[in-house]
């Protein structure tokens, strides 16, 4: 497909910029037992991106590189994936979830207080899920009680991405326990240095500690840190959850597409020639390649629809489910192609995405996508009930 001239120019610009600016040896520096290296590398990368205006193309005009159209943002994400730049793991919630929530729902004072800090590298986390409120998020129980000009918060949050490095938290609390569940929720901004917050990293099946749980014990949060009105936090949370506008998938699918060669590498690691591949394995490679290419085309088309305002109900769920299945199958195939070699423990790279050629790690890590951001089961409910109009149970 030929592209608009200005998109093509942007694509060229980003493509030239990446190799000159990607932190050198980032894979080595972000290796799993080197947290300091990961943090340092991510900060260095954010500074570069901010300087070039590639960190905030989705922000308003007055910000560096801001005011870009959705197709332009897609180009930037595609090129970052194609150029094998590190993902923005540490700052993604800050740049998207926090910033978009503040820009759309925050007060002027909140915008002025927090947005510049995001560009300087403040890390934000989401404090939404709870042990008892996963798929059924609106049943959250963390309680906030007004005490003068502060809310006093008690409860427990979980699955906060990189919460142990966070400076601020987007927090959902229950302010009215008697209202219908969505109607009693308030949205707060919590400074992670406030007394009473205990953050504990969660060790995942990979051994990585990407998520954290947070225990909140009489944490005092100023009323000035409330976003929107009291008990109207559910609507604000919807803005937070839709803030990345499908760009994550653009990046992830592009990275998956750009990683297809890794299957060949896995199959030939022991010195085998590609021609010596087992017939069945070759056929599996043909199939997974076909599905990845189809998915890539779908994501491209979905973003065109979104940019034109023609997004359809369920589009996002279909893409998420399709990617989840294809990603898992891709990782599983790589693992099987590498054979017993895939079972030797190797240190993983933090924030490298799902395709690191550390196949057992990638395979286990791919479960994350099946659960986070609305589990596969919730997505199937959305597709079947809202899109296919099957009756609710």
């Amino acid at each position: 497909m030929s592209e608009e001239p200005d998109l093509e120019a942007l694509r060229r610009e980003v493509r030239e910029w990446i190799p000159k600016n990607v932190p050198a040896n980032w894979r080595e520096r972000q290796a799993g037992d080197n947290i300091e290296g990961f943090l340092e590398c991510q900060r260095e990368w954010l500074a570069k991106l901010v300087e070039a205006g590639y960190a905030t193309p989705h922000w308003e005009h007055e910000w560096p590189g801001g005011g870009r159209s959705l197709p332009e943002q897609v180009v930037i994400f595609e090129e970052m994936a194609r150029g094998d730049a590190p993902r923005m793991s540490l700052f993604f919630v800050s740049l998207y979830h926090a910033a978009m929530t503040l820009q759309e729902c925050g007060s002027q004072a909140q915008k002025e207080k927090y947005l510049p800090g995001i560009l300087r590298g403040d890390v934000w986390v989401q404090g939404f899920s709870e042990p008892g409120a996963g798929s059924d998020l609106a049943s959250l129980k963390t309680r906030a009680v007004l005490d003068g000009d502060h809310y006093v918060v008690n409860g427990q949050k979980i699955w906060s991405t990189l919460g142990h490095f966070a400076d601020h938290c987007l927090l959902l609390v229950r302010t009215d326990p008697d209202a219908k569940k969505q109607a009693g929720i308030t949205f707060l901004l919590m400074d992670m240095k406030t007394p009473g917050i205990d953050v504990r990293p969660i060790k995942q099946i990979t051994g990585d500690e990407e998520f954290a749980e947070m225990f909140l014990d009489n944490v005092r949060i100023p009323v000035a840190n409330r976003v929107g009105e009291e008990n109207k936090g559910w609507g604000v949370a919807q803005v937070t959850l839709s803030s990345e506008r499908g760009l994550t998938l653009v990046e992830l699918v592009e990275r998956l597409y750009g990683s297809l060669w890794r299957l060949l590498e896995a199959a030939t690691k022991g010195g085998f020639a590609a021609e010596a591949l087992d017939v069945e394995d070759r056929r599996r490679i043909v199939d997974i390649t076909a599905r990845v290419e189809a998915l890539r085309a779908m994501v491209g088309e979905a973003m065109v629809r979104k940019a034109a305002g023609n997004e359809q109900l369920g589009d996002a769920s279909i893409l998420k489910l399709a990617y989840a299945r294809i990603l898992r199958d891709f990782c599983e195939l790589g693992m099987k192609l590498e054979g017993i070699g895939s079972q030797r423990f190797e240190n993983f790279v933090l924030g490298a995405g799902y395709e690191t050629s550390n196949w057992m790690f990638d395979f286990m890590n791919s479960y994350q996508w099946n659960i986070a951001g609305g589990s596969n089961e919730i997505q199937r409910n959305i597709v079947s009930e809202r899109m296919l109009e099957l009756p609710r149970g």
Binding site: L264, A294, I318, V383, S384, E385, L390
Partner: protein, 353 residues
């Protein structure tokens, strides 16, 4: 060259859906005392100009790309059309290369509706002194196919008049499609191309693959819709069975697979229309993705309908039979994967920059 106006594919789709809705009684081949009016339907397709769509403008055709055919093929799949157009239209692909006189003449016949083509790989057919000898089995063609387009492995292609061959229509499980056994005993043949060209014959095969891919996507969409209707209305334990999560999640998975399949078909259609270097591979891949998804849907439709889905009276088996036949046309699925594997692996290796 004269300006060619691009016809809106969605307009073609609407027209096709209307016409097929009026003319195709999908149960006709299955019900006693009825049969499909294939000649009438073919005539209507000719009248609608479908056979002219991809004929070049300089041959008084409409000069459209495959993009115009895609919605028609998809609607044919939805309707379980008893008429097959793809082999004739695929033969027209050769016009873009270095056609011999026999091909130009055949193309004029296809465009006018008089000539109908069966496409087959050479297999064990031998070519000697301008004649073809040997037997072909399971060849998909319209009941009144007039010509055979035989594709060699080396880029050769021959055209033979079928009136000089023994052509026997076999009963198929899928009664919407007719398979033929063809015996050639020194049947005169002419070269379709002035010189052998693998790119040309590859394009004919890819056209067939893509047509089947869209047939799959169309059939998949239709049987999914009909299964959803059943899930919404069939009650057991005092509730619509579609409200059971075990069933609705299966339906959601089929919808996801359908969308991936359509994505593959659209992607391949764009590549094919643009003449992309990997268009043949991508078309074969699109067919693989769509056929796997369609068959899974058609199989599960029988199960999701329960006992009624297992009856002759119900239409589930029409889709199941079509899905399975589609999967077996022009070579087994494994062989088709093997055929494109070298190109797929080569492309992957390029990604390792």
């Amino acid at each position: 060259m004269m300006d060619i106006e691009t016809i809106d594919p969605e307009e073609l789709r609407d027209a096709a859906a209307r016409m097929l809705g009026d003319m195709v009684e999908r149960r006709a081949p299955y019900d006693p005392g009825k049969s499909a009016d294939r000649a009438g339907l073919y005539g209507a397709m000719v009248e609608q100009g479908w056979l002219l769509l991809t004929v070049p403008a300089e041959m008084d055709g409409l000069g459209q790309s495959f993009v115009a055919l895609a919605p028609i093929y998809e609607e044919l799949g939805k309707a379980i059309s008893p008429v097959v157009l793809a082999p004739s239209l695929a033969a027209l692909e050769l016009l873009a290369f270095n056609p011999g006189d026999a091909l130009t003449e055949l193309a004029a016949g296809i465009a006018g509706g008089e000539a109908r083509v069966a496409v087959a790989d050479q297999g064990s057919v031998s070519v000697a002194g301008g004649t073809l000898s040997g037997a072909l089995t399971g060849v998909l063609a319209d009941e009144s196919a007039t010509h055979l387009l035989l594709l060699g492995a080396d880029g050769q292609a021959w055209i033979a008049d079928l009136s000089a061959a023994s052509v026997i229509a076999q009963d198929s499980w899928d009664r919407s499609r007719i398979l033929h056994d063809i015996v050639l005993d020194g049947v005169a043949a002419q070269a379709a191309l002035a010189a052998p060209d693998q790119a040309a014959t590859g394009r004919v095969r890819a056209h067939c693959d893509l047509a089947i891919a869209w047939d799959n996507a169309g059939g998949h969409a239709r049987i999914l819709d009909e299964t959803l209707d059943y899930l919404r209305t069939r009650k057991q334990f005092d509730r619509a069975i579609g409200s059971f999560q075990a069933l609705k999640h299966r339906a959601a998975d089929h919808k996801v697979d359908l969308e991936v399949a359509r994505g593959a078909a659209r992607n391949a259609t764009r590549a094919f229309a643009a003449g992309a270097a990997d268009a043949v591979t991508v078309a074969a891949q699109a067919r693989l993705v769509t056929e796997t998804a369609y068959r899974a849907m058609a199989e599960d439709a029988v199960q999701l309908h329960g006992g009624i889905g297992f009856t002759w009276e119900h239409d589930c088996h029409l889709f199941l039979k079509r899905a399975i036949l589609n999967e077996l046309l022009y070579g087994r699925a494994g062989e088709r994967r093997d055929r494109i594997a070298p190109a797929v692996l080569a492309k992957m290796a390029q990604g390792r920059a």
